[in-house]
């Protein structure tokens, strides 16, 4: 097999298999960048995987005061689920518990979208009759009285059904430290791409999973083919000198944004070359029968 090499790092000829998701973007603003970030981080906490978190969410980027509707510092947040009803529920709960509660925050739509999701339109009931609706420039906003003044919250935000979840890269290397450093570089590079998030801790997953298990009722279990401790016992995908594997999972509003993010990620991982201990870059798939989106690394890297 004539694998492609990038600065000595092997790019395995395979593809990342990804799934359609529904997604939305909201803009959170606050009196300072720090507080906008606190609200955004809280809202996107415990949102690594739809398997048990209900949603996948993350911070897309920081917004300067001249980019937001109220001229205050802000943060753009992306939220993804498998269907629109779940997205609506997750949005309401997360904004209601984490943004409404955060001092000085305000919340705006961040996406036009094909359909609308309720934002302030459901939070307004917290106002117990004292809420006020304001139409500014054709967009409806709710002013909800709270203990530090008012929560200003746009009535709706947009929903896209063209979102894609599960774009991924697997980083294989000779030392744990090398793989972690390379993965961090990749996450940083992906952060620069518009319309994507890396929902896992620091953007990195160390416990990639396969579908199913030997145990009844366990829907996902450890990806043994990529566990370095099991090389001798299972049909391993790892060469003997690979000590650790980490995965970067990417969710995006469009499949183009995922491709762009994977491109940025691959080049960031290979930046230091094979000398820094990275041996392979590969991707996870299920044989191509489950997800409609296939991102072939060979095409992505070009």
């Amino acid at each position: 097999m004539a694998d492609l090499k990038l600065k000595g790092v092997t790019i395995v000829e395979t593809f990342a298999e990804a799934f359609p998701m529904v997604g939305t973007r909201i803009i959170i603003t606050a009196p300072s960048q720090e507080w906008a970030m606190i609200a955004a981080r809280t809202m996107t906490g415990f949102a690594t995987s739809v398997i048990a978190c209900g949603a996948e969410a993350g911070i897309e980027r920081i917004l300067s005061p001249d980019e937001t509707l109220d001229g205050r510092p802000g943060v753009a947040v992306l939220l993804f689920t498998m269907d629109a009803d779940k997205l609506q529920r997750q949005l309401r709960n997360r904004v209601g518990q984490c943004v409404l509660t955060s001092p000085g925050s305000a919340c705006f739509a961040g996406l036009e979208g094909e359909k609308k999701l309720k934002l302030g339109a459901s939070l307004r009931f917290f106002g117990d009759g004292w809420q006020m609706s304001k139409l500014v420039g054709g967009r409806r906003f709710w002013r909800i009285p709270v203990m530090d003044g008012e929560l200003l919250c746009e009535a709706t935000t947009g929903l896209t059904k063209k979102a894609v979840g599960g774009g991924n890269l697997l980083v294989l290397g000779k030392t744990h430290a090398a793989v972690l450093a390379a993965s961090q570089r990749a996450v940083k590079a992906i952060d620069e791409v518009e319309g994507v998030i890396t929902p896992f801790p620091g953007g990195i997953v160390r416990s990639g999973s396969k579908v199913g298990s030997k145990y009844k009722g366990q829907i996902a279990s450890t990806n043994d083919a990529y566990c370095p401790t099991l090389k001798a016992a299972v049909k391993t995908a790892l060469p003997l000198d690979v000590e650790a594997v980490m995965e970067i999972v990417i969710d995006g509003l469009t499949k183009e944004s995922i491709a762009k993010a994977m491109h940025a990620g691959i080049h960031a991982i290979a930046e230091g070359g094979a000398d820094q201990g990275i041996t392979h870059i590969t991707a996870g798939n299920y044989g191509g029968n489950l997800g409609p989106h296939h991102f072939h690394l060979k095409e992505i890297v070009a």
Binding site: T29, L69, D70, K134, V136, G137, E150, L152
Partner: protein, 267 residues
């Protein structure tokens, strides 16, 4: 194509009803047919041709030149297009309009933008009483859109309005925002007596504190309003640089009615 323009020939001897001169009505008419439209308001017949000199041929863009305070109902019921007026206008400017844009370089008579539902009106000079107010036979005043008055507004500006934004750059007369149902009025200078009389919902944003506050408004003190920042930002995008800041004193009222309205006096 150039703007279809109507130049007033001389001082008319009766009030003119110019409500037929809107793009929707003129778009399929020839110049001759337009000149034959009747615009009189008395038993003495009067046509467009009698009162105006016509020029241009694009009815989506209408210009009035040399008009005076007897030219009523300009842009009344407007559904699209733009109307530019170089001169004063009479009563009912853009009354009941739904979309489109009206700009007046002069003063407006009574009931400018009364019961309008959308679009925008900008009057560079003063507007007489009940601007953005309520038309006879209607249940509500202004229902949407933007009414910007560059000069002073007469009494009862925004009377019974339901939605939309009225901006008064100069002073406003008595009973500003009287019986408002909802909506927003931004008053940049002095207001007369009885401001917010019968205010149910809606916001009156005041730059100066009224001299004579109704006793049926309750003080909430000064606090932060992100809404003001949002409004300032939107006004800026719409080409109006009005500094609102983020702090205001909030008065709730009118407690003699529903009392869910507010006066925000900029701090």
């Amino acid at each position: 194509m150039s703007a279809l323009s109507f130049e007033l020939k001389g001082k008319p001897d009766q009030r003119l009803d110019l409500s037929p001169l809107v793009p929707e009505r003129l778009k399929d008419l020839k110049a001759k047919d337009i000149e034959a439209l009747t615009i009189g308001s008395t038993r003495v017949p009067l046509t467009v041709g009698d009162a105006f000199k016509l020029k241009g041929n694009d009815p989506s863009e209408i210009r009035f030149v040399g008009t005076d305070g007897r030219c009523d109902k300009i842009g009344a019921g407007l559904k699209d297009g733009t109307i530019l007026v170089e001169g004063d206008v009479g009563a009912y400017l853009g009354a009941g309009m739904k979309r489109g844009k009206i700009e007046v370089k002069g003063n407006a008579g009574v009931l400018a933008g009364a019961s309008m539902a959308g679009g925008s009106i900008a009057v560079s000079g003063d507007a007489d009483e009940r601007a953005g107010g309520i038309l006879v036979g209607e249940t509500m005043g202004m229902k949407g859109g933007l009414l910007a008055i560059g000069g002073n507004a007469g009494p009862m500006v925004g009377e019974r309005m339901r939605r939309g934004l009225v901006i008064v750059e100069g002073d406003a007369g008595d009973y500003a925002g009287g019986r408002m149902i909802a909506g927003t009025i931004l008053l940049k200078r002095k207001v007369g007596r009885g401001a917010g009389y019968g205010l149910r919902r809606g916001s009156m944003i005041l730059v100066e504190e009224p001299k004579d506050l109704l006793p049926t408004f309750g003080d909430c003190g000064v606090m932060e309003f992100d809404y003001l920042r949002l409004l300032e930002h939107w006004l800026h995008e719409a080409g109006k640089n009005i500094k609102l800041g983020g702090r205001a004193r909030r008065l709730m009222g009118d407690m003699s009615v529903l009392g869910k309205g507010e006066m925000l006096i900029l701090a």
